[in-house]
């Protein structure tokens, strides 16, 4: 590999941002000034290239400090990591939170996605723009779902600097949004995580039991509330018995695909190739989903413990927690929890004095829904573009760094704790035979008490919505998020189980339940969904890259049309949608037409 770095130089600030991450460069091969010794030795080869996975943290370091990534800064980072600049440029331009063009130090992300749109995001945007004027030094950007749907409309301000500052305002009005952008350091304290849990304090809760009860910063408090009993039991059982418990519990993955967790663990544990890795998918970018954020913010040690159990079961000594970039507080809490656990011997070379080594590395996403797809997430961690890989081979065989890997959703992992503490039979007795255990639902939209709800599988949609305070004139409910489907107000008896929703021709997905009353214009909502997929497509395969564009175009054309006027475009949508579902590489393209199709077929959106 003969790298070419051009002649643009980093500024002192840019260099400092990178050096703060990697330490000062040791030789001119890494970007230091040339000295005599550099003429007589060469640095490079596999050892240097092995640091490629630090590319994303490096890009974050520059973007955090400066607000954007210049040629000089990118070149310097590439030197430090022996990464070809063209590839690093390809990676930097993949993520929405990075800019390779100069921009103001403060970026205000205004969510314009489904729940926020229903809560008046358009007006908010306009208000903010006119209040800030054109030379405010704030770049106002429209953002897909920020994962704060229970307090829509939401805005996130990020001010570059050392340190970078972030501030949230949700529910936002023009006043608080502008305040967050102009003084992120002195923005009012965020509402506690328990604010997103209307049932907080209910003794029957299992997964949300500690939220609002435990101090999320205190390991001792976590232990006082039952923390680390599951890990102790795991050590007592041994890895293969833990896998058996999880298998017997019937736990199905909560990330959307509902794959049996025990089976995935067993398959990974039995791979002869090593090392094995554990990846926790906390990318949570599905519009309408915010349960993983609430778990991480309200009960962070639970996730640390659950990851340790999972790693022990599958024989992994290293785990990656990939947190979406738009979750500053979840990131902070998880970092703190991981550091404390390590300091107390609950992570590291000898976990709980049991001779098992395990540690967690936290990685931050940078604004790409597709990185929630399991193989795209591997690429993202490895420092490549977050493009899904084609399967087979499956992650259990060749995952992160080409090694056997278990990837699980946050909620899935947190379920492992009650499985071990109450035992598989007791856990499996909750819910239905096909969908066991408790389930988190993210309820938002036009309801009185939006938030994360925990119910045993099997409650009906109507029961959940009643709990959340259904308002009058319900027009439609989106189940499963943008990749899910709409159901009608007369279908509220759908049981909220994997099999029940499947039978009803829809899906539970990641547990999104978004209600829309008749003030929400359906066709506009569908255009927004199409826009989301067009925007988030990685662009790798044709059916998705171009299909999502054609889908959005057709929906724009029929925004104001119905009946025969819309018939041609609906036929076109069906044909393109069918090919997207059949021929796209990954779940994004395969599901991008689901919600629209259901709106046409179940809601009669254009009749």
């Amino acid at each position: 590999m003969d790298l070419h770095f051009g002649d643009s130089k980093p500024t002192d600030d840019e260099r400092a941002a990178v050096d703060a991450l990697f330490g000062p460069p040791e030789s001119s091969w890494e970007g230091a000034d040339r000295c005599d010794a550099d003429l007589r030795w060469a640095r490079g080869g596999r050892e240097a290239r092995n640091r490629r996975d630090l590319l994303l943290p490096g890009l974050h370091a520059i973007n955090d400090r400066i607000g954007w990534i210049s040629e000089g800064a990118l070149g310097y980072l590439c030197r430090r990591l022996t990464v070809p600049p063209a590839e690093a440029y390809g990676v930097a331009t993949f993520y929405a939170m990075f800019s390779v063009e100069p921009r103001p130090a403060t970026v205000l992300q205004v969510c314009t996605d489904l729940a926020c749109a229903a809560a008046g995001a358009a007006g908010l945007c306009a208000g903010i723009a006119s209040r800030l004027g054109s030379d405010s030094g704030v770049s106002v950007e429209r953002s897909p779902c920020l994962g704060l749907c229970e307090r829509a409309p939401a805005v996130l301000a990020v001010r570059a600097g050392d340190p970078v500052r972030t501030a949230l305002s949700a529910p936002a009005d023009v006043e608080t949004a502008v305040l967050a952008a102009s003084a992120p350091g002195s923005a009012p304290e965020e509402r506690p995580a328990a604010g997103a849990v209307p049932q907080a304090g209910d003794a029957s809760l299992i997964l949300l039991r500690r939220i609002g009860v435990v101090d999320p910063s205190s390991l001792d408090d976590y232990r006082a509330h039952g923390g680390y009993t599951a890990l102790r039991r795991a050590f007592a059982l041994g890895p293969s018995e833990v896998i058996r418990e999880v298998t017997d519990s019937g736990l199905l993955g909560r990330g959307g695909a509902a794959f049996p967790t025990g089976r995935k663990w067993r398959a990974t544990a039995s791979q002869p190739d090593g090392p094995h890795y554990l990846v926790c998918n906390a990318d949570e970018s599905e519009p309408g989903t915010f349960k993983d954020r609430v778990l991480m913010e309200g009960d962070p040690y639970a996730l640390v413990e659950a990851m340790t159990v999972a790693a022990y079961a599958v024989g992994a000594h290293k785990g990656y927690l990939y947190v979406r970039g738009e979750y500053p507080r979840a990131l902070r809490r998880m970092r703190h929890a991981v550091d404390c656990a390590r300091a107390r011997g609950l992570l590291g070379d000898d976990v709980l004095g049991q001779g098992y080594a395990f540690d967690i590395e936290i990685r931050r996403g940078a604004g790409a829904y597709i990185c929630g797809e399991e193989t795209a997430l591997f690429n993202s961690i490895e420092g490549y573009r977050g493009e899904p890989r084609s399967k087979p081979p499956f992650p259990v065989e060749k995952g992160l760094f080409g090694r056997p890997t278990v990837e699980n959703n946050v909620e899935t992992l947190v379920n492992v704790l009650p499985i071990l503490t109450m035992g598989a039979p007791a856990y499996a007795a909750i819910g239905t035979p096909g969908s066991t255990g408790p389930k988190l639902f993210c309820v938002s939209g036009t309801v009185e008490r939006p938030g994360v709800y925990e119910l045993p599988f099997g409650a009906t949609l109507g029961e959940l919505l009643t709990l959340a305070g259904l308002r009058e004139n319900l027009r439609a409910v989106l189940l499963g998020g943008a990749a899910g489907g709409f159901v009608r107000p007369d279908e509220l008896d759908v049981p909220l189980t994997f099999e029940g929703t499947r039978e009803a021709g829809t899906t539970l997905g990641s547990g999104v339940v978004m209600a829309f009353d008749d003030t929400v214009p359906m066709p506009r909502l569908l255009v927004r969904i199409a826009e989301f997929f067009r925007d988030e497509s990685c662009g790798q395969c044709v059916p998705c890259r171009v299909g999502t564009v054609r889908q959005e175009e057709a929906l724009h054309r029929i925004v104001e049309r119905t009946g025969t006027d819309a018939a041609d475009d609906i036929a076109l949508l069906r044909e393109v949608g069918r090919a997207m579902r059949d021929a796209s590489i990954c779940g994004l393209g395969q599901t991008a037409w689901n919600a629209v199709e259901s709106a046409i077929d179940r809601l009669g959106a254009y009749e």
Partner: protein, 286 residues
Amino acid sequence: MTAIPLGVPRRLVEFTIDGQEARVPEGSTILDACRAAGKDVPTLCEGDTLTPKNACRVCVVEVEGSRTLVPACSRRAEAGMEVRTGTERARHSRKIVLELLASSVDLSTTPMVAEWIKEYDAKPDRFGPDAARLNEEPKIDNELYVRDYDKCILCYKCVDACGDQWQNTFAISVSGRGFDARIAVEHDAPLTDSACVYCGNCIEVCPTGALSFKSEFDRRAAGEWDESAQTRTTTVCAYCGVGCNLTLHVQDNDIVKVTSPHDNPVTHGNLCIKGRFGYQHVQNRG
């Protein structure tokens, strides 16, 4: 890679294609088997010298038990598989892929596409006159080759050829994402400011003519490109001792471009700047 002639004998995998028994060596793709069986499966992003990226999805076939269609170019044949190549479902996806591509980029110099569009009854115009297109201007920034990304289907072949599969120069990559994704060097600079070493191996693999010799580009622009009037002569490069094979494409007694045979076991169609572009001395007629 089909170009490597010898290897350890491999076990045969038995399965069916369109109901007929097929037997291929272990590790073969469905596409290999289809070709051996004389089945016509269209391909765009597959390259005979590269690991398939399976990005275009024009080669999809139906495999019994699979929820989605399967790219024939990259999926390995497995014992007992039931593959169907010409079902309505597979043909539908191929047709839509052709329509999506042809409505967004210029496929006029992509071999075979016109025939496939006819065969699959694809109608790229049906997305209307306002359908988004790439609308890229050709990038002409050096005397050797032109990048006309209005013709690019993002097959990733040039990226793979420039990167870890052959050249190891990593001068180009994909930037942006979704419909805005483009092949680019860092910061979208001119090629002359990039790491490009002008081996032209990306041109060799580009299936659409998005990357082409300046000599070809200029002749096409002037309406003077006539493949039927060209002769091809394969000879040996005289520059160095490696001994690469060159195929000289000659029109009106001028070398108009140089390619290299892909079945050459040493070079697999790859050359260096001298072999690819250093032919002017041959036609220096004083």
